[in-house]
C-alpha cells in the first residue's frame, strides 16, 4: 500500500514542480502517469521511490514514511527503473540480473539468489542471452534485461520511468505485455510514466494525468482518455476514436483540429 500525501516539491529557485499532490496507488494494477514535459511525472516517481526525498508531505509504504526506512529495506519493497540505462561498466546480462539480488544478499549470492536470477531470466525469455554483454544486444533486449533485474529484485512494487523510450513499436508492445504479465501472473503493482497516451490507454488499468505539478484527473482509461481531459493537459487538440473497446487518441493536426488550434 503506497500513499502519497500532500507532496510539494520545488527546486532551489523556488519553482514548484509538485504542488500538494496526493495519490493512493491501486494494488495489483498498472497505473500510468501521463502529462506534458515538465508536468512533474518523473519528479513524482522519484519522490515515491525516495530517490529524491520528499520536501513537504510524505510518502507512506504500508503506513511507514519511506524517508525513515532503511534503504535496503525499501529496495526489497520498491524497484525502480530510471529513464536511461547507460552504464559506465561493461557487464553481461547475467551480471546485471544478479545485481537485482543486492538488496537481499548484499552481493553475496546464495543458492536462493541464483535460483531467482535464473527464474527472472527465464520469465523474460533471456536464458540464452545471459552470457551476452549489454552492448552486444539490441535496445529492446537491453530494456528486457533491466526488467529481469527488477524481477530478480523480487519487490511487490515496480516503478518504471519512460520504459518505452527509444524502443520501436514491436519492442514497446512486447515491453508493455511483459509489464501486464508481471501484474496478472505475479501480482505486482506497477507505476509507469508513459509518453504515448495510446500505450497508456491500451495497457494501463488506471491513468493519472498530470498538469503543472498537480493531478488533473485520475481514473480508468475510459474516463481519462477523452478530449475534455487531454486537451488542457497537453495543451493540444485531441481526437479520440473507439477501437475494439479501447480509446485511441489521434493527435496530429488533422483538419478539424487545425481549424480550432487554440480552442483548447
Amino acid at each position: 500500500m503506497i500513499e502519497v500525501q500532500n507532496i510539494t516539491q520545488s527546486y532551489s529557485r523556488g519553482k514548484e514542480i509538485l504542488k500538494d499532490v496526493s495519490l493512493t496507488v491501486r494494488e495489483h494494477e498498472i497505473t500510468a502517469l501521463i502529462g506534458a514535459n515538465g508536468a512533474g511525472k518523473s519528479t513524482l516517481l522519484s519522490v515515491m521511490t525516495n530517490l529524491v526525498p520528499a520536501q513537504s508531505g510524505q510518502v507512506l509504504l504500508h503506513g511507514q514514511d519511506i524517508r525513515k526506512m532503511k534503504s535496503s529495506e525499501l529496495a526489497k519493497q520498491i524497484a525502480f527503473l530510471k529513464q536511461s540505462q547507460q552504464l559506465a561498466i561493461r557487464i553481461t546480462v547475467n551480471d546485471l540480473v544478479e545485481f537485482g539480488r543486492f538488496p537481499h544478499c548484499g552481493g553475496r549470492l546464495g543458492d536462493e539468489d541464483k535460483r531467482k536470477v535464473a527464474e527472472a531470466l527465464d520469465y523474460l525469455n533471456m536464458g540464452d542471452m545471459a552470457g551476452k554483454y549489454l552492448d552486444e544486444i539490441s535496445g529492446g533486449q537491453r530494456q528486457r534485461a533491466f526488467i529481469a533485474m527488477i524481477l530478480a529484485q523480487d519487490t511487490p512494487y515496480i516503478f518504471l520511468d519512460e520504459p518505452l523510450n527509444n524502443l520501436d513499436i514491436r519492442y514497446s508492445v512486447e515491453m508493455m505485455k511483459n509489464v501486464q504479465r508481471l501484474v496478472s501472473e505475479l501480482g505486482k503493482t506497477v507505476i509507469v510514466v508513459l509518453h504515448d497516451i495510446n500505450f497508456a490507454s491500451a495497457y494501463a488499468d488506471h491513468i493519472v494525468a498530470m498538469q503543472d505539478g498537480i493531478i488533473a484527473k485520475e481514473g480508468p482509461p475510459r474516463e481519462v482518455v477523452t478530449p475534455q481531459v487531454l486537451n488542457p493537459v497537453f495543451e493540444h487538440k485531441f481526437h479520440i476514436i473507439d477501437h475494439d473497446g479501447k480509446q485511441v487518441s489521434l493527435y496530429y493536426d488533422h483538419d478539424e483540429a487545425s481549424s480550432c488550434k487554440f480552442c483548447g
Binding site: 530517490l51 535496503s72 529496495a75 547507460q86 552504464l87 553481461t92 537485482g100 552481493g107 551476452k132
Partner: protein
Amino acid sequence: MAENFAGAKPKQLWLKFLSFAGPGSASTQAAGSKKRSVTVFVVLAVLLVAAMALYLYSRTWAKMLPIINLGIPVSPDAFSNILARAIPHLVAMVASAVVLAVVSLSFQTITQSRVLTPSMIGFDSVFVGTQTALVFIFGASHVLFANPLVNFLVSAGVMIAISFFMFGFILRSSRNNIVFLLMFGLVLSGIISSGTRYLQIIMNQSEFFQVQAATSVNINNISADLVWYVLPIMAVVVALTLMRHRKFNVMSLGPQQAKGLGLAYEKELNINLVLIAVGMSVATALIGSLTFLGLLAVNAARELLKTYKHMPLFICSAMVAAFALVAGQGVMELIRGAIPVTAIINLVGCSYIFYLILKENRV
C-alpha cells in the same frame, strides 16, 4: 550442416579468446575469465617478487661490486646496516603503492570516470604547499620541518583537514555533486600551486633545495621509524576499502541505480571520501607525490582483468602499483639515481593517459 557447425566452432572460440566478447554461455565465459585472471595474478606476483629482489640487490649487493665501490670491501656489519635500512623502505614503497592504487580505484568508481585520480583534486599541491610554507615560515631547521614524524603529522593533517572541508562543505552545499567537487579541487590545487611557486621564488636558495628534497619522491630519505607508525593507518584504510568491494560493484552502476538497489549512496560516498582523503594524505606525506601511479595501476588492472568486480581489481591494481614503484626504484638505484623514479612513472603514466583518452574518445 553438421560439418559447417563443427567448422565454425573453433573460429568462434578463437574470436572469443581474442575479444572476450563473443557469444557463449555465462558459465564458459566465467571459466575463461577466471583462468585469465589466475594467469594475470601469477605473472604479477612473479614480477613483484622479482622487482623486490632487484631493489634489495641494487640497494645492497650492487653497492659491493668492485667497479662502483672502487675496490673497497664492505664489512658484514655495514652490509647488514644497509639491508636493515632497505627493508623499511621497501615496505614503505609497497604499502604506499597499495594505498594509492586502492583509493584511486574507489575514487574512479564514485566519480564514474576512468581518467581521474584523487591527486587531481589537489592532494599533491597541498602537500608541496605545506612543505614550502613550513620552510618559509619556520625555516628548514625547525622541528616542524626537520623532524620526520612531526612533519608527517603536520602535512597529513593539513591534507586531511582541507579535503574534509572540501568534501563536507562542497558536497553538502551542492547536494553531492561530484563534478562540482572536482572543479573546486582543481581550482584550489591551481591556487595552492601558484602560491607555492611564489614562496619558492622568494625563499633563499638553500631552503628551496631542502623543500625540493622533501617533496620529490626520495625513498632513501624516508625515516624507518615513521614507516612502522604509518603502516597500521594504511592497513586500516585498505582493509576498510576492500571490505566494501561488493558495494563498489553496485556503485559502478551509477548513483541512481545503486540507490534503487538499496545502497545508502550518500553515506557510502561520504565514507569513501574520508577513506580516500586519509589514504591519499598518509601515502603522499610518507613517500611524496606520485600523481600517475594510481591511474596507471587501476587502468592496467582493468585492461588485464576485463572485469567490473572490485575485489580482483583492487588486488590487481595494488600489485601493478607496487611492481611499478619497486621496479622503477630498483632500476634507479642500479643506475645510481641518474633518473628519479617519478620521472619514469610519470612518463609511462602520461603516455598511458593519452592512449586512454584517445581510446575512450573513439568508443
